[in-house]
């Protein structure tokens, strides 16, 4: 059953056009079949018809035809629940590998008819359900990540059995959207890293740390890292104050280099670097990143951190 459906999905995705940023659900890409319950209902209709024919009871005919017409109309109602719906997927918030990516799915339609019980998922099994009483809405569709890098949005399954549960209408929607998955941050367990933090030999080591001594405080400026705020000293004042570290610009910089890390496979080293970036950012240090041909100048702050993480996520040797 699942294999059959997978084959059908491949076929269905082939016959729709290349991935676009939004997809209209129409007669061409919506499929509809009775659910298990729908088949039971059809069986009920067959039983009723047999009974009506045998007993020649006209009220049994009435009931059979009435429920039969209801069955047909239910199919149209279910189909209409998704018909004309437009689906788009926005760029999700970046996550670290292993976390759950939340793809923002935007559903909109032009008609005034409310749409109910729309199920979304990556397979037949829906993960979230939503309803649109207005013309558009946004829902987050979760996806568990397992690899760092640029993740193309997999084909989503949008389905609905509203309102009677007799039919299930569904569509496979493949949209051109990418998400960034940072490496999983892993603190380097080896002593080399711990010693390297104190090593003064510059670029040969993974990181160079200096300027750790507190020279004084200055008023808080935007962009100062959280770790740099002198919380205790700020306590009595009206405004925050930041720590002023000793040492020069160059000396106060940590340089994080992929090559300098001990031997391990690439993903592990990227994970270590990721943890280092986060740790440096946390402690409010300036840090630079050297990744093969890419190098990121020393800096700190949210934007710098994001740039580094992005480089780590997209790195290819």
């Amino acid at each position: 059953m699942d294999r059959l459906e997978a084959r059908f999905q491949r076929w269905a995705l082939r016959r729709t056009a290349q991935p676009v940023t939004r997809r209209m659900l129409g007669w061409r890409n919506l499929y509809i079949l009775p659910t298990w319950f729908g088949m039971v209902f059809a069986l009920l209709l067959a039983v009723l018809l047999l009974a009506a024919l045998n007993y020649g009871a006209n009220m049994l005919f009435v009931m059979t035809f009435w429920l039969g017409a209801f069955f047909l109309l239910a199919m149209h109602r279910t189909h209409r629940n998704l018909l004309g719906l437009e689906m788009a997927i926005q760029v999700p918030q970046e996550v670290f590998c292993g976390e759950t990516l939340q793809w923002p799915v935007v559903l909109s339609h032009e008609s005034a008819r409310p749409r109910y019980s729309i199920d979304l998922g990556w397979t037949r099994r829906p993960l979230v359900a939503t309803h649109l009483e207005t013309r558009s809405g946004r829902v987050l569709l979760p996806l568990q990540t397992s690899h760092r890098g640029l993740l193309a949005c997999p084909p989503a399954v949008i389905s609905s059995t509203h309102p009677f549960g007799l039919f299930r209408v569904w569509a496979y929607v493949s949209l051109a959207q990418q998400a960034v998955v940072y490496p999983r941050p892993i603190v380097c367990p080896m002593r080399q890293w711990a010693t390297a933090m104190n090593d003064q030999e510059g670029l040969l080591t993974a990181a160079t740390v200096s300027g750790n001594e507190l020279e004084g405080v200055r008023p808080y400026q935007r962009g100062d890292a959280r770790g740099r705020i002198a919380w205790k000293r700020s306590a009595g004042r009206e405004a925050l104050v930041s720590k002023m570290m000793g040492g020069g610009e160059a000396a106060g910089t940590v340089i994080l280099s992929l090559e300098a890390l001990p031997m391990a496979d690439l993903e592990t080293r990227l994970s270590w670097l990721c943890a280092m970036v986060l740790s440096c950012e946390e402690q409010g240090m300036d840090y630079a990143l050297l990744l093969g041909k890419t190098s990121i100048a020393p800096g700190s702050g949210v934007r710098h951190c994001r740039e580094c993480l992005l480089a780590l996520a997209c790195f290819r040797p």
């Binding site: 009920l44 006209n58 049994l60 005919f61 035809f65 109309l73 032009e110 008609s111």
Partner: protein, 662 residues
């Protein structure tokens, strides 16, 4: 895209999916209970009681900390019920057994239900149970009740599919009822066009046989008396307006053979069973045209006014002047018949003549002696004498003549008791005529009927059962009604009921009177009931043929009709679907006007691209056509405000809509 849609459930809380509320449980269980109760009078009472008790138990368990019964206990209970039902019904695989099982299953399933899936099973069981009611009872009130319950069942179906936080029950009810209402015209098409079979597919429903009463093919003493006390409806008929109630003789089986005790139809007389002509004469006035709806009798007789000549029932025959169907009537049936005042003259074949004169070897000496006095007279003189004899004999009409002796019953009636009802009179007269050498036979049927002014039809009940005599005189069969000779007609019986009313007091008498309120209401109700029977319940193969020819579809074959039905159903569904979408989109001016703008831009060579939102498109278009920039931005801003913004006030909306026109 500013409106956030909140997910109704998410995977981290799996129980937050389609859950069932206590309220939902209770309404479903009450519905099961009602469906069970609609089987009252059909299924055994103890069975309905047991099933209802199981539902009530589960209903109580929604409020009290009672346990849901264990599986083995339910299985044990089921086995017990099946055994009890088998003993009561007496056979497996009968309709009665099946229906009983269904009622029992609904109760047991309700008792052990715990989840949403169980409720869905119950929904289907309730549909089945409701339909099963129609096998035995299709009366209008029951039909209204059952279809109403089916509507409720459908509402439950919608509610079970929803996330409860999503749709309040009035919305669910609206969805269900609107869809069911839309289904009505489609169902109507199927009902009219679906090919009907003249008989059952399998099994002749033997269990109905015992329940039926009516004329049979033999007449033992007191057979008609038991009918005379029954108010069951035999038939309803549209007849020519000018006929008086006394002249209505509804002809049934003819009885030939007498053994001194019972009259029987006997073997088929040679040459008397001929196919009834199916072509009814075009011109009225050649006879009495009747449209008759007959209730199931278990007998093949198609009652018609004395004497039927032709009918529209395929395969029907005329036997001894009575209309006979090819098989017994297990269903209500509607047919047309044409009757004439008398059977066409003709000489009797020798065998028939012999049969019409045959009497037991011995018995009833006094009657034979009386008949011997008339023996050598012509037939009409014999009848004249018999008539005088009855008139002068101080005969009484009574339904309580006392027990008749098993020997010489005709003598006892003619010379001792001199009181009896139509059966005694017909039996005695036939005996006398045969003994005097006049060929005679007994005709059973019904006499009279109540005219219903609302429905313009005559209603005949079992209490009108009657027997009369036919004598062969001068080459033709002549109807003789000895009961009429002694001055008692059907009116005698009406007086009886009138007297009963008088004893109960004048007010009640007025109410129960012929022209009284109750009588009128009863007649009105019967008129509605008849219309229901006429238009819905007796719509069978014949009626369908008539309807199709009225629709100018008479020439189509069965396959063509079926094809036509499928096409019409599909068209109907598509039309309803289209009407539904039109209603929803017509109000949506905003998209239409914006679409107009987009098409206008496309004509200028600048169509909106799929990846562009309205604002991006406006930027591109305005750069390309600077002279139109003002209009482009006006339209786009209005569209964005109307489509994505908070809903504006009426004036504001009016202004924005004006600005939206490109």
């Amino acid at each position: 895209m500013t409106i956030p849609a909140t997910p109704i459930w998410d995977p981290s809380r799996p129980t937050a999916g389609r859950v069932t509320t206590t309220w939902l449980w209770r309404s479903m269980l009450v519905l099961v209970l009602l469906a069970q109760l609609s089987h009252l009078g059909q299924a055994p009472l103890w069975l309905i009681g047991a099933a209802a008790a199981a539902v009530l138990w589960r209903l109580a368990a929604t409020a009290l900390p009672w346990p849901v019964p264990r599986r083995w206990f339910v299985a044990l209970l089921a086995a017990g019920i099946v055994a009890g039902l088998r003993i009561q019904v007496g056979q497996w695989f009968s309709q009665e057994f099946g229906t009983g099982l269904l009622v029992a299953a609904s109760g047991l399933k309700a008792a052990e239900s715990v989840g949403r899936r169980d409720l869905l099973v119950l929904v289907v069981v309730v549909y089945l149970m409701l339909a099963a009611v129609f096998i035995n009872n299709e009366a209008l009130p029951m039909a209204v009740l059952v279809l109403g319950l089916a509507c409720l069942d459908t509402i439950m179906l919608v509610q079970l599919q929803q996330h409860p936080s999503l749709l309040p029950w009035p919305t669910c009810a609206r969805i269900a009822l609107v869809t069911l209402a839309q289904a009505v015209p489609v169902a109507l098409i199927c009902f009219i066009l679906f090919p009907r079979l003249p008989g059952p597919l399998w099994g002749r429903l033997p269990q109905q046989h015992e329940a039926l009463s009516g004329l049979s093919e033999e007449m033992a003493p007191d057979a008609i008396r038991s009918l005379a006390l029954s108010a069951e409806v035999v038939l309803r008929a549209e007849i020519p307006d000018d006929m008086a109630a006394e002249t209505l003789y509804w002809r049934g089986p003819v009885l030939w053979d007498f053994d001194g005790h019972t009259w029987r139809q006997g073997a088929l007389s040679q040459g008397t069973d001929t196919p009834a002509p199916r072509t009814l004469p075009e011109k009225a006035g050649q006879g009495w045209q009747q449209t008759i709806i007959i209730e199931p009798s278990g007998q093949p007789w198609l009652l018609a006014l004395d004497v039927p000549l032709a009918s529209d029932v395929p395969g029907s025959t005329l036997r001894d002047g009575s209309l006979r169907n090819a098989w017994p009537l297990w269903q209500r049936r509607r047919y047309q018949a044409l009757s004439v005042p008398a059977i066409a003259p003709g000489t009797l074949p020798a065998t028939v003549q012999q049969r019409a004169l045959r009497l037991p070897q011995a018995g009833n000496p006094r009657a034979r002696q009386l008949a011997q006095r008339w023996q050598n007279q012509p037939a009409d003189r014999v009848i004249q004498s018999a008539r005088h004899w009855f008139k002068a004999g101080h005969f009484q009409y009574t339904l309580e003549p006392g027990a008749a002796p098993t020997q010489d019953s005709v003598d006892a009636f003619l010379f001792d008791t001199r009181s009896g009802f139509c059966e005694h009179y017909a039996s005695a007269l036939t005996f006398l005529l045969r003994a005097a050498g006049v060929p005679a036979r007994i005709v059973t049927g019904y006499h009279g009927g109540a005219w219903n002014p609302w429905g313009h039809y005559v209603l005949v009940r079992q209490s009108s059962a009657h027997a009369w005599v036919e004598a062969h005189v001068d080459g033709r069969w002549l109807r003789l009604d000895p009961v009429a000779w002694i001055g008692i007609t059907d009116g005698g019986r009406l007086d009886l009921s009138g007297n009963r009313g008088a004893e109960d007091g004048p007010m009640l008498h007025w109410l129960m009177n012929d022209a009284g309120l109750v009588q009128r209401l009863a007649l009105g109700w019967d008129a509605i009931h008849t219309a229901w029977n006429d238009w819905v319940l007796s719509y069978g193969a014949d009626r369908q043929r008539a309807t199709l020819s009225w629709l100018r579809l008479g020439g189509l074959s069965r396959q063509e009709i079926a094809m036509l039905m499928v096409v019409m159903v599909l068209l109907g569904v598509l039309t309803l679907d289209w009407l539904g979408s039109v209603r929803w989109t017509r109000s949506h001016v905003v998209s239409r006007r914006y679409g107009h703008f987009c098409r206008a831009m496309a004509r200028r060579g600048c169509p909106p691209q799929p990846w562009e939102g309205p604002v991006t498109f406006a930027q591109r278009a305005a750069t390309r056509y600077p002279d139109l920039a003002g209009a482009i931005w006006r339209v786009t801003n209005a569209y964005v405000a109307l489509h994505y913004g908070p809903s504006p006030g009426p004036d504001e909306k009016e202004r924005l809509l004006r600005e939206l026109s490109f």
